[in-house]
Amino acid sequence: MSTLTISVFVDLSSALTGVAASQLKPQIDPINIAGQYFATLTSHVAEPTLIKLVTTFQAAGNPVAGATAVLADPVLGPVARSIMKLWFLGVWYDPAKPTQAVNVVSAQAYKESLVWRVMQSHPMGYSMFTYGYWAKQPPALNQFIQPA
């Protein structure tokens, strides 16, 4: 019986989002957004479901197959999709009410939400670019997102 650890959570998140684990949780990590999302998830989802999440993901043998299996499961699928929304949007959605946002996890979560990098930009309200950047082509997608 293996419970969900941050390490497995990050691997699962990487497979679900398509973003490299090293981007989700860098070696040297002053922000620890992975820790925040992990805490959010485990505070809302019961332990048995988390255990099933781990075993289903790991049983598949490779991350993509693992993510596929999890997403297809009637109980695990909604949880996995809530995990994806955490990473892309910084918002917690209740797996039981998948289109109803519950809350923004934190200001850090909004700032770290990945959908803005997916569109080669920055969160509205948090730009760390320089004046006039908008008149030029942005860097390529693979400079914003390291693929899993």
């Binding site: 981007q23 040297i28 002053p30 309200g125 320089t130 400079q143």
Partner: protein, 469 residues
């Protein structure tokens, strides 16, 4: 996107490492005759680490031990050590030519004029009409003092004998973005100044960045990073911001401050109405930003020091303690709130208009421990050393440093380099924006990323270039 450079340090070959250590070793410090160590205590107590060596050499970069593998905490420690080494070297007793006096130690006479105080101040570089500043170490053609101050100059006003050094003229009193002035518990306004080392000065002069019209032709600003290359190691660009407090006679006598004699110049203003004044004063150093661009930290290393008497940490007031910027007998007053406008630096403000400054983000434990070791080492030089009364608040450094010295080009999707700690401020210099809100609360790198030339070109993390006339 590269992974953190800090992981690559694991792969430094032994040869390279030895060379690095050799560089550090052969330029190492004068050691005083240490007291003979006491015999080790009995088995159970762990050995205390040796006191840090005091060196007049500014580090070329952070030193990261190859073992064990670096962590966030260990790197923070390494950068904090670099901050202290830099502070000590820059505070070293100085010779008339601006070089450290290798025959002395900081504080051996209690206080001493410092190396960094011989560096050029912003007004000496950004001259009226964008005139070119004279080369490093040579005097300005005519007195830079405002007329009202010239008549007040007295013999022996300078304790520095370097010819041409501008008399210590302090003029600035409002914190960035107009958030407010810093007023001490005597009702006097604190003053700020910005200085730069020769590397920074040379780059500004070579690229004519002191001149607004010339800035129009500048499309890229990349200050030098320095190098640890053993063949020709170089200290990178360093800029300094100091905050000074006008000392009362008792405070001067306390011997707790690094002091200098200064001319406090208040420029005239029509709104608010402020009279032009010039005043002699002995000022004490209360805050010091040291910002150093290195090869391993192209987003610069941001160190900030404070005098230990400045203010309490939020929730940790020591009752009855004499703070410079907090009244422990008025605990109910609103904290970190400037007085109502208008602000007039000529005023001696009444108690109700003296802001209660509080440190919002505590200094973390490892940094406090490091502070204690350096303070002890400085005190060991002379128990009356002023330098033992300063502490490192923290060091902000990029955890994902740009791959090259040109940050804008080499790290276009992570210009900040994901700094650690995320938020950092000096209670004397960012008094009113201490917090943890992204893009707003004081964070050296985030805020300075918005800095540009007068023509809105990214200015490599310094606001100085917008002062060009």
């Amino acid at each position: 996107m590269k992974s953190s450079r800090w992981q690559f340090l694991l792969f430094i070959g032994l040869g390279g490492l030895a060379a690095l250590l050799a560089v550090v070793a052969c330029t190492n410090s004068i050691q005083t005759a240490s007291p003979v160590p006491a015999p080790p205590a009995l088995a159970t107590t762990p050995p205390t680490p040796p006191p840090p060596a005091l060196s007049f050499n500014i580090p070329f970069d952070v030193t990261v031990p190859p073992q064990p593998p670096p962590t966030l905490e260990s790197l923070q420690h390494d950068f904090d050590v670099m901050s202290w080494q830099t502070f000590v070297a820059m505070s070293w007793p100085v010779l008339p030519d601006g070089q450290p006096n290798t025959g002395q130690l900081p504080g051996q006479d209690g206080d001493n004029p410092t190396v960094w105080q011989t560096w050029k101040t912003a007004p000496e570089v950004f001259l009226p009409n964008g005139a070119p500043p004279p080369p490093w170490g040579t005097p300005l053609a005519s007195s830079p003092l405002p007329a009202i101050c010239r008549d007040q100059l007295q013999p022996g006003e300078y304790f520095l004998t370097q010819i041409g050094k501008t008399p210590n003229l302090l003029t600035e009193s409002i914190q960035p973005f107009n958030t407010g002035p810093l007023i001490d518990q005597n009702g006097r306004y604190a003053r700020f100044e910005i200085l730069m080392n020769q590397t920074m000065f040379d780059y500004i002069v070579a690229n004519k960045l002191y001149n607004k019209k010339a800035q129009a032709g500048v499309t890229s600003v990349v200050f030098p990073c320095g190098t640890t290359n053993p063949a020709n190691p170089q200290v990178g660009t360093i800029m300094v911001k100091a905050s000074w407090k006008i000392l009362s006679p008792i405070e001067i006598q306390s011997g707790r401050f690094h002091t200098m004699k200064a001319l406090i110049y208040t420029p005239p203003s029509t709104n608010p109405i402020i009279a032009e004044t010039c005043e002699h004063a002995t000022v004490g150093l209360v805050g010091l930003h040291i910002v150093h661009k290195t090869a391993d930290a192209p987003q610069w290393v941001w160190s900030t020091f404070e005098h230990i008497d400045n203010c309490p940490t939020d929730g940790q007031v020591v009752p009855g303690h004499d703070y410079s910027f907090y009244n422990s007998n008025a605990p109910g007053a609103a904290i970190n709130t400037p007085p109502d406008r208008p602000w007039n630096p000529n005023n001696i403000e009444p108690p109700a208009r003296r802001p209660q400054i509080v440190r919002m983000i505590p200094i973390d434990q490892p940094t406090q421990q490091l502070n204690a070791t350096y303070q002890a080492a400085l005190r060991a030089v002379n128990p009356s050393s002023v330098w033992q009364y300063y502490q490192l608040v923290s060091t902000q450094w990029p955890t994902q440093p740009a791959p090259s010295c040109d940050v804008e080009t080499s790290a276009p999707t992570n210009l900040t380099g994901t700094p650690a700690p995320q938020f950092l401020g000096n209670s004397t210099l960012e008094s009113y924006i201490q917090g943890r809100v992204p893009n707003v609360s004081s964070s050296c790198i985030e805020c300075h990323l918005n800095a540009t030339t007068t023509k809105s070109v990214f200015s490599d993390f310094t606001y100085l270039l917008e002062r060009a006339q």
